[in-house]
Amino acid sequence: MEGKWVVRTFFLVVLIPLINGCCKRPIYQPAFWNDGGTIQRNNNCYNYGNNKRTDTFAQPGRATGAMYPLPIACVGVYNAAKVDGLEPLTASGTCPKNRCSEQDKVALVVSPVAWFNDYHWYRQDKSNMWSHKPGRTRATDLDNSGNPISSPETANRGLYTDFCGYMCSCSNDQEGNGREKIN
């Protein structure tokens, strides 16, 4: 009985994290993304939110052939991200955490404005403050009013007025090396 428990613990705590890697909350390090070149140009808010450099301007669901439908709406992008491996989370919820691993909270917003249909992601950094990367521009921890982002729900988000909700992402404390399989 004790032997089984040891084997099970070994698998869960040592072997699986060793193969898959542990999820870690990211540290706000914008310099990695803000190179003014390849990384900044080819990685968008979804890359930054998941802390995963792909150089493909990653799209929710594309990695598994289940991209969000058009027109863009909360439910479509949220479900596409779920297919990518992100886990749904309630507003008051916290992301899974164990000895090895701690997932990171990300937030999805959408612009429902006619003629400007788009989505945007924020990520919560280890400091508990939020940061984001608007498209090709530099990663920042400020909102459209130039204020630090303590909550994406109350931040100035410009036309991205629909707040869709939170999800958990398997991020990393090494910038650009998140573990979600996005593309």
Binding site: G36, N44, C45, Y46, F57, Q59, P60, I72, V77, V113, A114, W115, F116, N117, D118, Y119, H120, W121, H132, K133, P134, G135, R136, T137, R138, A139, T140, L142, N144, R157, G158, L159, Y160
Partner: protein, 164 residues
């Protein structure tokens, strides 16, 4: 003696012709390259979706870009990029994808300022936002953006240079 002079004269004339032909072919090749050159233009509007893009090709369009840059005056910008990190319209980027001569690797224009990158960064003024307007209008003509999109983003090119 006379024959030797004649042969020598012919040799000089032939050499000159070969040199002239060589110079012409080099010039012609450069001209052809310029006509075949391509500039990739990206309008920075989206955060998640890919941004609208189009190409500027041929002497007419590329010549116009060269004209804008040739006329633009150097400025002290005070920041290291003209592009703001905000949600919404963030300017227009021109990438010199086929290394058209006389233009830098990339040009980014936003609200009266141009950021020219070619190993190092130089800032230029975009008087009356003419260069930015030209690039946006080309995007409208090529149907990659429209006035409704610019309208919701608060980009009113018809009223420039009056601040929005």
């Amino acid at each position: 003696m006379l024959l030797r002079d004649r042969v020598s004269g012919m040799a000089i004339a032939l050499s000159a012709m070969v040199m002239l032909l060589g110079a012409w072919s080099i010039g012609h090749a450069q001209e052809t390259n310029q006509v075949k050159g391509e500039l990739k233009v990206t309008i920075l509007v989206y955060s998640g979706r890919p941004n609208p893009t189009y190409s500027l090709e041929g002497e007419g369009d590329i010549g116009k870009v060269k004209e804008f840059i040739g006329k633009a005056k150097k400025t002290e910008f005070g920041k290291d990029t003209v592009v703001p990190s905000i949600l919404g319209y963030n300017g227009v980027v021109v990438e010199n994808v086929s290394r058209v001569s006389g233009l830098p690797e990339s040009l980014t224009v936003y609200r009266g300022n141009i950021e020219a990158r070619d190993g190092r960064t130089t800032f230029l003024g975009d008087e009356n936002r003419d260069f930015e307007r030209f690039l946006l209008q080309q995007g409208i003509e090529r149907k990659v953006i429209d006035t409704k999109l610019l309208g919701v983003l608060g980009v009113k090119i018809g009223t420039w240079p009056t601040p929005e």
